[in-house]
């Protein structure tokens, strides 16, 4: 099946990663396992500070279902246990022990169960929580396309892991029908007839699992689908083939504030301080704009739905990119009246919309190169208002759902109406572009997340 997405938007951010890998798998010493990244997981601690752990060993189990566990990504020693407000367990930090060797002999696993250290990599929709082993998903969806701004090129990322990936697909196909989405015109990575291959083309959110599921087989009430990241499929395949748990992640590091954007080879949960030291434009580099305080926001994930982390923070459990972007905490004089040649807007209400159109019509030869380089930062560009304008979300929301009506149903907490309007088919990330273009500056993703959490807790 070919999925052609027309409604969407690619954000022209600067700082696309160069196709060059820097291997930090052994250089990063601290690695975090973060239960806060795993939705629907209530952690119970199995280890204490100072314990020696080996890769794949259970560190945390779910209080509600002890079969489900988060496992240590490396051999090492439990260095610290981070707790937040109300003693909420936020992270278990493992310090890698280079000397310690994995002595266990090669075991060939044949199937994937909750005993596997990889179980947490499987997510479940609706709700985006960790997969429940008692559920029978109607399909397992994997995407070899990431269309987020500055997202890694999956073809490049998966280079050299083709066999592991094929093995992972094979073992997942035993659980449920596997649907693999690949970019249009890309050779199928497997000839296995049990794998349903779909091609996808179009702007973001074409690469989002939610978009693909909605076009292949939308989720109805009471149905489940599982989703696994492509890199995690390779990890699962590697574990099946060799018995070795090696949760590697190749991440793209980029963004307007990155010094030299390229790819890094990391372990899931790696501390980011080495990358931040190398990438942050700080001393010796000119400030991006004179009025700015010139601080940089470090985002694990994309600018549309990632998580802000500190410069000594850790890579998110499911993230495959790091974005560095300038904080926009400065005023702009009469910003609403300025022509705005460098302002990016979907709405064409700034001069950039006009120059962008000229560029699109490929007549820049007449005008010279007037295509602006847009400045992106974290400024809200306005104040929060009620919803006034309509019909904007529909232009970038490729679902058979009325977005504004669903958002309003979520705001008022009308569960019945949410179900009728298709809440089970969406995740907050599917609304990321709506949130981006919204002139009333509403925090749509958190509204959807809160509504989904209410529903999830009712379903349990």
């Amino acid at each position: 099946m070919n999925i052609h997405i027309k409604k969407g938007l690619d954000l022209p951010l600067d700082g696309v990663a160069k196709k060059q890998r820097i291997d930090l798998r052994t250089s990063v010493s601290c690695i975090a396992v973060k239960p806060t990244d795993v939705l629907g997981f209530t952690p119970r601690l199995l280890v204490a500070v100072g314990d020696e752990v080996c890769a794949g060993q259970r560190l945390l189990v779910d209080k509600h279902d002890e079969r489900i566990a988060l496992t240590s990504p490396v051999d090492g020693i439990v260095k610290s246990i981070v707790r937040g407000e109300k003693r909420r367990l936020e992270a278990v930090i493992v310090e890698r022990d280079i000397a310690q060797k994995n002595t266990s002999e090669v075991i060939n696993h044949t199937n994937l169960s909750t005993d596997s250290p990889c179980w947490w990599m499987i997510k479940e929709r609706p709700f985006g929580c960790i997969a429940n082993p008692d559920h029978h998903p109607k399909g397992i969806f994997i995407s070899l396309l990431d269309t987020n701004p500055l997202a890694p090129d999956m073809q490049y990322v998966m280079q050299g892991r083709e066999n592991d990936f094929a093995m992972g697909l094979h073992v997942l196909a035993e659980k449920a029908p596997v649907h693999l989405c690949i970019p249009h015109g890309y050779p199928p990575p497997t000839t296995d007839s049990a794998i349903h291959i779909h091609t996808v083309e179009g702007p973001h959110p074409a690469g989002n699992i939610g978009t693909q599921v909605a076009h292949i087989s939308p989720i109805n009430k009471g149905e489940y689908v599982w989703t696994v990241g492509a890199q995690d499929v390779a990890t699962i395949g590697h574990w099946i083939a060799t018995g070795e748990y090696r949760p590697e992640r190749i991440v793209s590091v980029g963004g307007p504030s990155a010094r030299s954007p390229h790819y890094y080879q990391l372990i899931v949960g790696s501390q980011l301080s080495l990358i931040c030291d190398a990438q942050l434009i700080n001393n010796g580099y000119p400030a991006l704009s004179p009025s700015s305080t010139n601080t940089t926001r470090i985002i694990s994930g994309s600018v549309l739905n990632g998580t802000t982390v500190a410069s000594n923070g850790f890579l998110g459990m499911y993230d495959q990119q790091i974005t560095l972007i300038e904080e926009g905490d400065h005023y702009e004089f009469m910003g609403w009246l300025m022509p705005g040649l460098k302002k990016f807007s979907f709405s064409k209400t700034f001069l950039s919309g006009f120059t962008g159109l000229i560029n699109k019509m490929s007549v820049p030869a007449l005008f010279g190169n007037i295509m602006p380089r847009y400045t992106f930062n974290t400024n809200l560009h306005g104040s929060v208002r009620p919803f006034l304008f309509t019909g904007q979300f529909e232009r970038i929301f490729p679902f058979d759902i009325y977005p504004l009506q669903l958002i309003k149903a979520c705001i008022v907490g009308d569960i019945e109406l949410q179900e009728k309007l298709g809440i089970y088919e969406v995740e907050p990330e599917d609304f990321a572009l709506c949130e981006f273009i919204d002139p009333s500056k509403t925090e749509i993703q958190s509204i959807i997340r809160e509504a989904l959490e209410v529903l999830r807790k009712e379903t349990i």
Binding site: W336, H381, P386, L388, E435
Partner: protein, 384 residues
């Protein structure tokens, strides 16, 4: 501009004066786009905000406003036989319009600020467009006290009682016009109100609008070209279809107004006009259908009033139905109801009331087919 930014930070009302927060915020965000940053969700945001969107509407109104000012002078010079050059005509109209615009903004913004202040809300910029629209759609002879009353009524009853901009179901500018229309009918219709010749006391000079002439059973004296250019009597800024089209181009290019609504209003009006042509019972019915686009407030209503996103239908399918019916009803009212020469205002207000119902039906279709899909899957699972 650092000094101004610092000054604003210095005068921020605190302690005893902190109740003035809404007013302070309104002026501060007028001068400076705030420095607030995203907290969660999408880390970057589109540069467009409510202020920018509303200011685009205001800019789109300017061609019609400037032409309307000139036309006031032009009509007066014809009526009085005065020999003025075009610049003086414009200046004459400008002096007539300025007090109306000032009164409209002063009254409306005062109420908006008061409500925002009491509710501890931020002042919404929606009135920047409404406040300019109201003086543009009333007769030039409207006394200022009537205008002030109408604005107050529109802002309080038309908008604020429902919770402010975004919560209202009737277009506030049309509420103001309807208020005048029903409260002071003698000031709002007839032949004498459209020309600013009251200064001369020469009441006798006729200034009939094409719609007025048609309602009286006459053929309009103005040619189609005059009506296209707008050199005819009428509400202050609604006469020139060309000036309105300039504004429409801006609204459509920027995506602020819905092309679906604009197009479907004209389609609906055109279809209704053709239907009447086919019946051809009287002179009004035989009028070429495109005359309806050129006369009265049809074009102005289609471009600036029907497209108000808050009071229009919100779904794309709904917008087609909403627009088609506005156009059709406007022509129906004009031709079949001699009591109201102009049908556009009532037609839009009526469809404002119907818009939620249209949306409800459109969304119900989506709900229905989702339910059907779930049932089909359930059956399959049951059989399998």
């Amino acid at each position: 501009m650092d000094w101004l930014a610092n000054w604003f930070e210095k005068i921020e009302p605190k302690g005893k004066l902190s109740w003035l927060g809404s007013t302070y915020e309104a002026f501060h965000t007028f001068a400076f786009t705030p420095k607030s940053v995203t907290r969660q969700g999408s880390h970057i945001r589109d540069a467009v905000d409510m202020k920018r969107s509303i200011i685009i509407v205001v800019i789109a109104l300017i061609p019609a406003l400037l032409f309307g000012m000139w036309n006031i002078g032009y009509q007066t010079s014809i009526a009085t036989g005065a020999d003025w050059n075009w610049l003086y005509m414009w200046w004459f109209g400008f002096l007539r319009m300025l007090p109306m615009i000032v009164v409209s903004y002063l009254v409306g913004l005062f109420i908006e600020f008061a409500f925002a202040q009491v509710r501890h809300h931020e002042v919404n910029e929606g009135f920047l467009a409404t406040g300019l629209l109201i003086p543009m759609i009333v007769p030039v002879t409207t006394p200022l006290w009537q205008l002030a009353l109408a604005v107050a009524f529109a802002v309080i009853i038309g908008k604020e009682v429902f919770g402010g901009s975004g919560m209202n179901f009737l277009n506030p500018a049309l509420v103001a016009r309807a208020f005048l229309f029903f409260s002071y009918p003698t000031h709002m219709s007839g032949d004498k109100v459209w020309i600013a010749n009251d200064l001369w006391g020469t009441d006798a000079i006729a200034g009939a609008t094409p719609l007025g002439e048609l309602a009286a059973g006459m053929h309009p004296s103005a040619s189609a070209l005059d009506m296209l250019l707008g050199t005819i009597p009428g509400s202050t800024c609604e006469t020139s279809v060309i000036a309105i089209a300039l504004g429409a181009l801006l609204l459509l290019f920027t995506g602020i107004a819905s092309w679906r609504i604009m197009l479907s209003v004209f389609l609906g009006g055109g279809l209704m006009g053709l239907l009447f042509n086919a019946i051809g019972y009287n002179e009004y019915m035989q009028l070429p259908f495109y005359y309806h686009f050129l006369m009265g407030g049809f074009a102005f209503g289609a471009v600036f009033m029907a497209t108000d996103p808050v009071t229009a239908a919100q779904t794309n399918t709904g917008k087609w139905i909403y627009g088609l019916l506005i156009g059709a009803f406007a022509v129906l009212l004009r031709v079949c109801n001699p009591a109201y020469p102009e049908g556009m205002m009532l037609s839009i207000l009526f469809m404002n009331c119907m818009a939620p119902l249209i949306d409800h039906c459109v969304v119900a279709q989506n709900i229905k087919h989702r339910a059907k899909r779930a049932v089909a899957i359930g059956k399959e699972a049951h059989n399998g």
